[in-house]
């Protein structure tokens, strides 16, 4: 504002002075002139002479043609409008020809129908144009999702905002335009001010862009510094695996976990017990992680194979670690750290671990055997000593007889059991001999040098060289899957074998969890003690790793299996332990829960019945072809006549459900009814409702529930809002067209 021209300001002042003076003058004049021209109450229309047929004023002059412009010009109020009319350019030739009469004949007017059509067309065009002006409004209303009446807001005489006033402002009177021009001359318009500000900005040393640039550069540098710092921090945190391992070890050492072996000696009894307990816990943990059979456990298989993301080398190392750990722990638990110290050297090699295990088992076997005999003796004593006079039911003759019979049976069983146990010992001896003598024959390396060793069972020759076994009433067969050696005990109750074969129970896959072993002992109806002994013996011989779960005991379905063939099968990859167990002659094998239940339901052909019912249902529902030929009609009768093919037009196909398209097509244990629910179908829509052209469109309408319970509040309100709402009390007027 400093650089405003002072002269222009002076001019403005002078103008304002003049303004005040003139307004005063005006006021004075206005007051004086008011009574002079009083307002008229009634308007008197001027009389306008109309066109008269006979009058000379506007009568047709002989040479002059009447046209629109003259008509309009005749009315004083429209006189100025005549200028707006397009000037008529008369065709010159027609002008030259002058009168129509001179031309001769008039052209015939168009036929009325044609004329009318032309008129209609013109009118139609005009109407359409007029109607099109409403098109936008009507389209909007038709397509609207929601209408709230009244549609158009009433015109309100509200106060306009200053901005609206300014933008609309245009000088209309002389005074206003004068002020406007003065302001413009003083460069006080909006444009001028912004221009000056821009110039001021430009005159500064640093431009806006430069400032911007500088700030950007600074920010960039700060960002870079920050990033470098964070990266440095992260890098400092990264340590190698080895570092971590060492750190862990150091920490463990700090916690005082020295080697237990040394410390055990120096401890007193209490601490020692505690330490032993801890070691046992370790062992349990190891067990829990499945790292305990070097060869057969799942972990070992995974470690050996490509599973667990281990390479072969890693797997081997892991196995070695595990074996080492196992050896140490077991020795500690048994509390004889030095006992097997002699064989330490051989123990170091992982491959020979199994032999050690076997040795240990053999060591324990004597004790087990002894225990078994003790138990037997106890049973025998019990039965002998229990000769007190029985009273009541037990004192009756037939009961006594039965008891005696039972005792006899038990005694027999005991005998056989003893025989079995004797034989175990013998077989063991044979086996140990065999393994000593024919090591080459029974052991072989698999997979080249240094691979795992596979011990096959004693060969048939060595077996036959041993003590002649009594002929085996049962046979055992090994399933084809050699990787999972399973021993099957054949039931001595061969009477039911056919039934069992048919029984669905046996076809069922064995589940991973069978009934508890405890229960199974109790199941044997007679001589549970004897059974227990057999069980404990078996357990001892086989070791915990090969202990048979009841669920894995399967009854062979093939009673005619040849012993020789079975032996050959077994020598494929079974352990000698398993082999021995399988061929042990036994008179009675305990029955599992499964077998009992199988027997209980032996007569029920539930599955067969169900399959038959399903087949029947499928057939009922399937499409059928019926021959409607009346027998005998149109046919010859008598002997030796060939049966003619029935007339295809007489074959009626009844629609049905194809067995392959049934809902239960691929599942054997379910029948899903394909019948039509007639009672419910009366609530279905009979035909497709109007606007929809497919079922899916219609059914999609119901996909979304509208209730308040299943929607958000706003969602429910939106979906249930009526299409048309009306403001109460409002007058609904037709839509006005705005221009």
């Amino acid at each position: 504002m400093d650089d405003l021209d002072p002269s222009t300001l002076d001019g403005l002042d002078a103008f304002v002075d003049r303004l005040t003076a003139s307004s005063k003058d005006k006021d004075g004049k206005a007051t004086s002139s008011e009574p002079v021209a009083p307002e008229k109450k009634r308007r008197v229309l001027e009389t306008i002479p109309g066109p008269a047929l006979d009058g000379n004023e506007l009568g047709l002059k002989s040479r002059q043609k009447l046209d629109l412009s003259t008509l309009i010009a005749s009315h004083p109020s429209l006189s100025s409008a005549s200028a707006l009319l397009p000037t008529k350019t008369k065709p010159k030739d027609s002008y030259k020809t002058g009168s129509i009469l001179k031309q001769g004949t008039l052209s015939a007017p168009l036929p009325t129908s044609v004329q009318d059509r032309l008129n209609r067309e013109a009118a139609y065009e005009a109407t359409k144009e007029e109607g099109a002006k409403w098109a936008g409004v009507m389209k909007r209303i038709k397509e609207a999702e929601h209408l709230s009446f009244p549609l158009q807001a009433e015109e309100r005489g509200g106060v306009k905002s200053s901005g609206a006033l300014l933008s609309e402002y245009k000088p209309r009177q002389g005074l206003e335009s004068a002020v406007q021009s003065l302001l413009a001359r003083a460069n006080l318009t909006q444009d001028g001010i912004t221009k000056r500000e821009n110039e001021a900005l430009e005159s500064q040393e640093l431009s806006v862009e430069e400032m911007e640039e500088r700030r950007k550069r600074l920010r960039e540098q700060r960002e870079l510094i920050f990033r470098a710092e964070t990266r440095a921090k992260r890098v400092a945190r990264i340590k190698s695996k080895t570092f971590r391992k060492l750190a862990r070890k150091r920490a463990a050492k700090a916690a005082g976990a020295e080697d237990l072996d040394e410390t055990l000696e120096s401890m007193d009894a209490e601490d020692r017990a505690e330490a032993l307990e801890k070691a046992e816990m370790d062992r349990a943990r190891e067990r829990a992680t499945l790292k305990h059979g070097a060869r057969t456990s799942r972990w070992a298989r995974q470690a050996g194979g490509s599973g667990m993301g281990m390479t072969g080398e890693e797997g081997r190392i892991a196995k070695e670690d595990m074996l080492e750990m196992k050896r140490k722990l077991s020795r500690r638990i048994q509390g004889r750290g030095d006992d097997s110290g002699g064989s330490d050297d051989s123990d170091e090699e992982g491959d020979e671990d199994n032999e050690n295990e076997e040795e240990e088992e053999e060591g324990g076997e004597e004790a087990i055997k002894r225990r078994a005999f003790d138990q037997l003796a106890k049973v025998a004593n019990g039965s002998n000593g229990d000769t007190a006079e029985a009273s009541g039911l037990m004192g009756m003759a037939f009961m006594k007889k039965a008891e005696q019979r039972q005792k006899r049976k038990a005694a027999e069983e005991e005998e056989s059991l003893k025989r079995d146990i004797e034989m175990f010992g013998d077989l063991d001896e044979v086996d140990s001999q065999g393994s000593n003598e024919e090591d080459d024959g029974t052991m072989m390396n698999v997979g080249g040098t240094g691979g795992r060793m596979v011990f096959s069972g004693p060969s048939r020759s060595s077996q036959s060289s041993g003590i002649q076994k009594p002929p085996l009433p049962q046979t055992s067969a090994v399933s084809g899957d050699t990787s999972k050696p399973k021993v099957r005990f054949e039931s001595s109750w061969t009477a039911n074998q056919e039934d069992e074969q048919l029984n669905p129970w046996l076809a069922q896959p064995t589940s991973s969890i069978g009934p508890s072993r405890k229960r199974q002992h109790g199941i044997g109806a007679n001589s549970s003690a004897a059974d227990k002994t057999v069980q404990s013996l078996k357990k001892a011989v086989k070791g915990s790793s090969t202990a048979e779960d009841d669920s894995r005991v399967e009854i062979s379905l093939n009673p005619d299996a040849q012993p020789g063939q079975q032996d050959g099968d077994e020598s494929g990859g079974d352990e000698s332990d398993g082999d021995r167990m399988g061929t042990v002659p036994r008179k009675r094998v305990r029955l599992g829960q499964r077998d009992l239940v199988a027997e209980a339901f032996a007569g029920d052909n539930v599955v067969e019945d169900f399959a038959a019912e399903k087949a029947r249902t499928i057939e009922e529902d399937a499409p059928k072809v019926e021959d409607t030929t009346l027998p005998g009609w149109g046919l010859w009768g008598g002997k030796g006549l060939k049966k003619r093919k029935s007339n295809p037009s007489r074959l009626v196909t009844k629609p049905g459900i194809d067995p392959l398209t049934r809902q239960d097509a691929k599942r054997d244990n379910v029948i899903i009814s394909e019948k039509k629910d007639k009672k419910a179908s009366k609530y279905l829509v009979k035909d497709l409702p109007y606007p929809y052209t497919s079922k899916a469109q219609y059914e999609k309408r119901f996909e979304n529930p509208l209730g308040a319970e299943w929607n958000s509040r706003s969602g429910h309100q939106r979906e249930t809002l009526p299409r048309v709402v009306r403001k109460p009390g409002a007058i609904i007027e037709p839509v006005r067209r705005l221009f």
């Binding site: 909007r140 379910v670 279905l684 052209t693």
Partner: protein, 627 residues
Amino acid sequence: MDALIAAAGPLKAGKGAPHHGRRKPLTSHKTVDRGSEKESIDPSTLSILGSTRLPHAFHDTPHASGSGTSSSTLRPDPSVSKIKDKKLRAKVARTDVATQRANRERNDVNEWLNAPLGGAAGGIEVDHEAGERTWRIGQGEIESAVGLSSRGKKFDLKFDGLGEYVVDYTRNGRHLAIASKLGHVATFDWQAGKLHSEIQLRETVRDIKFLQSESFYAVAQKKYVYIYDQDGVELHKLKQHIEPLHLEFLPYHYLLVSSGHAGYLKYHDVSTGTLLTQIPSRLGSPPSMTQNAHSGIIHLGHTNGTMTLWSPNMTTPHVKLLAHRGPVSCMAVDPSERSAGRYTVTGGMDGMVKLWDGRMWGKEVKSWHLRNRPQTLSFSGRGMLAIGGKGGVTVYNDLHSGSSADSVPAPYLNLPTPSLTAHSAKFCPFDDILAVGHSRGISSLLVPGSGEPNFDSGELDVFESRTRRREREVRGVLDKIRPELITLDTEFLGKVGDQDRGTYEERQGKSYRQLGRMERLALAGEGGEDSDAVAVANGETVEGVSDGDGNANESTRPIKKDKERHKARGKGTGMKKYLKKKRKNVIDPALIAMRAKVAAQRQADEQKRKIASGEVKKETGALARFG
């Protein structure tokens, strides 16, 4: 204007009317100019804009969480654009968008309002790493950990020498009914400790069930079913139900269902007192019965190991499933929100427990073996499963956790009842309580996290007053659902039924007027825009020129494939046909070779054409061989 309209009169469109130059399109009256870059507007349309759109409150506004986005992200399914009719298209598109939006909002509400405050679903949490397990936690430990009000909910009612007890809760979980084998029946408000009725019936009682509220209950006695009121006054003897074994009540249909020794399934409408229907199951005395609360379907377990699903509409079972080898001793249907009546658990005398999916009967989702064979099963509102048998009840929390069907789910809680067999176990609705009936009374045990914490008081009110109950009962009878609507498919209502198409002659004999809308649409070749939608969804484009027959209804008019037009020989059409036939996204060496061949051929043709037209001059002479 009026004169113009009057003059316009009838006019034949098209035929006689000559067009004066180019016809102007019907445009709106855009008179207000807004500069060069903006479109000019029609002031009349502008004036009604505000009143022809949804009120401002319903416009999408992004949430503070950023989850809600503007509706511009919601687009109708692309298949909608296949619909020819403009109005219908707009309608279907609007529906589609509304559905999408509703789903999104529902998710938002569930996430922000209905999710539990702590983030977890409730229940016991243990340090799994440290070897702690939930099933090691006993009732005493739970009792000491919970608040005083919850502690009072664990109680035992001892009745010696009265036989095994059956329990039942009302639907809001407020009232408990117990019935012993030897005829001791009692109902009470177990939370307030208020006894409603206690009667000695002096005859065998096999089951007890509350009807629509605590004011009536039905008892399956030695010979018949009896109905008693809240005070234990005998109201009705239902003589049609002979030797009943099990009772169920369908609350929305007001149907009392019983199954008896003779194997009959009987539906009795308790609002009118009439026997609706009796259906012979023809499978003997059923060892178990349960209902699917979601659909009202009754499940029966039979001695031959099958489970059958019944509705009063059909005399044959909807589904017959061979579930077990041995009698099906107990069943339960998961009522939780996640399951929505899909999952059923059956327990058999063979000691197996199997989990079935109602969308795929015949293939168990999970099955495992129990040491003690299951005697009773119950699902809680949150989908926990209680399996009762000899020695107590085991509760499983997440049945669907393991991947394989054979993996045994880890138990959530062990609730031992020493030297007793759990004869009947029921979870209390809307509370973390499991009531177990055994031969020495009943035990109410705490199972944290089992009950559904959010109840809809308009539907089932835990704190229901007397007036509320009366109101609900009257409304319930007014809103009674017809028994015909019990169907296996819960989405059944509102669908378009399959029409009986009749024989060929019948169809031919119909005039156009007699045809249904679907048939007419099929005739016009307009029906079934779904087929197009399916094609779009599969990523295939409809080949050839569409002649309007392409989208005929499949059932009546199978889509005719456009025949390949056979051109003259020697045009290499074989190769093109081959390429066309091959799916474009399957690439194999043969296809690549063929494409290369075609490209080479095309290039050669192009070269020839250019030479012929003179664009390229063909090299001649000795150097031509070098190209």
